[in-house]
Symmetry: D2
Subunit: 236 residues, 4 copies
């Protein structure tokens, strides 16, 4: 594990942006699975600026959503909608470079990734409960590849989505499991802010356990963890 | 995970020998941790033959013992004695290319490996209880780097060594833990014979759990598992 | 450059076969460009035997012909016909895993390789004139990617083909140039027999020059050269 | 070859700084050969700022000077003096992480690099005459490893140093040759300003020839070229 602690969120975001940029600018097909959400928000803004300042052949990079929550009466699920708004549209990523994971294809997806040449980079945040991608403690098993979790009204996740999204949740979440993520060539985990300090401590220094799903990422030979000082404040 | 099932132990051994040979013959320093024991016995014989048939600069490869059980009144422990007899002497590996892990240096060993450039290859067998290196189910924790396990008369391990070795066990075992092993660039796990079929099934298809330590190896992005048909006979 | 000198052609062939086997058995798409011709003949026989002894998922490997000489009134050119006979048929490689380079697509081929994820392995022989792939000294330029060489009756190459093949040559050769080959992740060059000793000396120890095209291969950071003792007999 | 054209020198420098930073922050020994001179000046300033903002274990990175011109009555030569002033001192790189190439050890240096695990990154500029490291057109041969060029009063190089430095030139230059540089895992070439436009065009689009030494870098499978718009202005 490579650990970088940055002075602040801005520096964290600059470094993250450049890591993504350098993988994006490859001279052969690369497969990138980048997280939606708040942690990479500023990094994606910087990336959008960079794309006005740096010119390279963007056509060889393919983008994957690493999880998805289906939504009723919507073509795209929660993650694809967020990625489209936060990443794909602002950065001008065209449809033919976007590989969509959904409830219809998740069973073949590990195979599809292998046929595409494998994942080159997975950029992730960490949840307050230690989840990465869609691997919540309540249903994580480290031996899962891409898998499906049914969602019903009354479930924690159902309520969360129902409240935070204008759409009604569908019947499931699909997500890359630990097997899928750890098969990638490079992993980057980012976290910022005091509210992440406790779970970062557990994930990086506590036991490796399905109760703190992100703890498993430490075992990958090419993991970079980038934290701001607040998120790192409880580390030894 | 790359899975190769071979017709028999001889083919398994030929492939294993050539994997080691190709890493050994690098044009830059490489760091190899190769197991002692019965599984690689024939592979090492083939390697010894190969070294009479293939000429290359052998000086850049460094060899590491990945575990050690100290022995009373002996300079070298159980593993180093076995490796010397089974690997180092028959293959003519000279002392300056052998990096010895022991009870005196284990605390600095992860650091030492990092300063040496990291491990390029770890070749392992699997125990009937699912152990790899010295990670027995009774004291495995996936977050361990190189660590020490005290041994006392009466312990399972003490009795085992006492019976199988002409020497009296010392006070401890030291071993690469999961963190150390999974940080390597490439892992190879070999197993042969019907007696390994059940544990192979558990390790490769069961849950990833400290109760079957080798199950964690599946999460490495560059693991090759080589089995003969008997060891593979219970796989789906 | 990694140099392995083997006692004889049989050992050279065994090692070559296992290098190809290990790349073939990847758990993600891999792209292999393997030479036709006399040098790898025995290696491919051993590979065919291995495929009866070693079971793995063969579906993720794609095979490329790295040069082609078109033939009049023939669907496939000289190289594809040879590869089909020597490699694809004996090894049971199915059509959907074969990527055909020909006069119709050569202009887009560097792009196609990039979109396929790049070449993982190029296995080559060396000609008595120092050529690799179709890069003959008379028209090699190190800055070429995939390129076309027109052939007319009266040309050296025309005569050679006309004599050695039951077919009439077409109007061109197409071939991976140095740019295409050196962009691959790994290169393997094999040569056996006394008749190769002089050109091997020139290619490995002489100046790097377009007059000895294979001399450029030495600059690749991941080149393995495997020779039998006869081919190596003039090296320092 | 990966080509990135940046809007201006500032963006070029930011990206370059982050490329170096990410290699520097490895969790195993890495070997970095970074150029002195005007092109990376701003990148090193940014790096110095970054080191006040980003905290990581710096101890595993080793720094190499890739050429040296000896100076009369001086312990260090021209390059080491420049690197000390521009890179090592401002960035706080300690002596034990600096590997000095000089006239006394150049003959063993390729071997030393191999024993150190090989070069992970070489960051270079390009001279107006197409030179990279110390490979001037007048004495470049692509088959050279680390080599020595004698210098006498009256030589072009002697005059140049004599004029630009407070010190009197010594008797030689030593430099990584093409063999040494192209054996590295990753190469980065940077150039900025209109005055570099013509040589960049020759090096990237012209023939690969010892008359334009940097033209050979294009053949490396992992070369990144970063230019500002002015330096890129003559490219197709």
């Amino acid at each position: 594990m490579k650990l970088l602690v940055t002075e602040n969120y801005e520096t964290l975001s600059q470094i993250t942006a450049d890591i993504v940029l350098m993988r994006w600018a490859e001279n052969r097909r690369v497969n990138l699975a980048l997280t939606a959400g708040s942690s990479p928000k500023r990094a994606y803004e910087i990336l959008a600026e960079r794309l006005n300042q740096v010119f390279f052949d963007q056509s060889l990079a393919h983008f994957y959503n690493f999880d998805e929550i289906t939504l009723k009466d919507q073509e795209y699920g929660l993650t694809m909608q967020a990625l489209t708004e936060e990443l794909f549209n602002p950065l001008g990523i065209v449809e033919e470079n976007i590989e969509v994971l959904d409830a219809g294809n998740y069973q073949d997806y590990d195979r599809q990734i292998a046929e595409d040449g494998g994942l080159d980079l997975v950029l992730m945040g960490i949840g307050g409960d230690g989840h990465f991608c869609g691997n919540m403690p309540e249903f994580t098993s480290f031996d899962y590849g891409v898998y499906r979790v049914p969602i019903k009204p009354g479930d924690e996740l159902y309520k969360l989505i129902d409240e935070s999204s204008p759409h009604t949740p569908g019947e499931e979440m699909v997500t890359f499991g630990a097997q899928t993520v750890l098969a990638a060539k490079k992993l980057v985990l980012i976290a910022n802010g005091e509210k992440k300090a406790e779970i970062i401590k557990q994930a990086l220094e506590g036991p490796i356990t399905e109760d703190v799903p992100a703890s498993i990422l430490r075992l990958h030979p090419n993991l970079t963890v980038i934290l701001d000082q607040e998120a790192a404040s409880k580390l030894k």
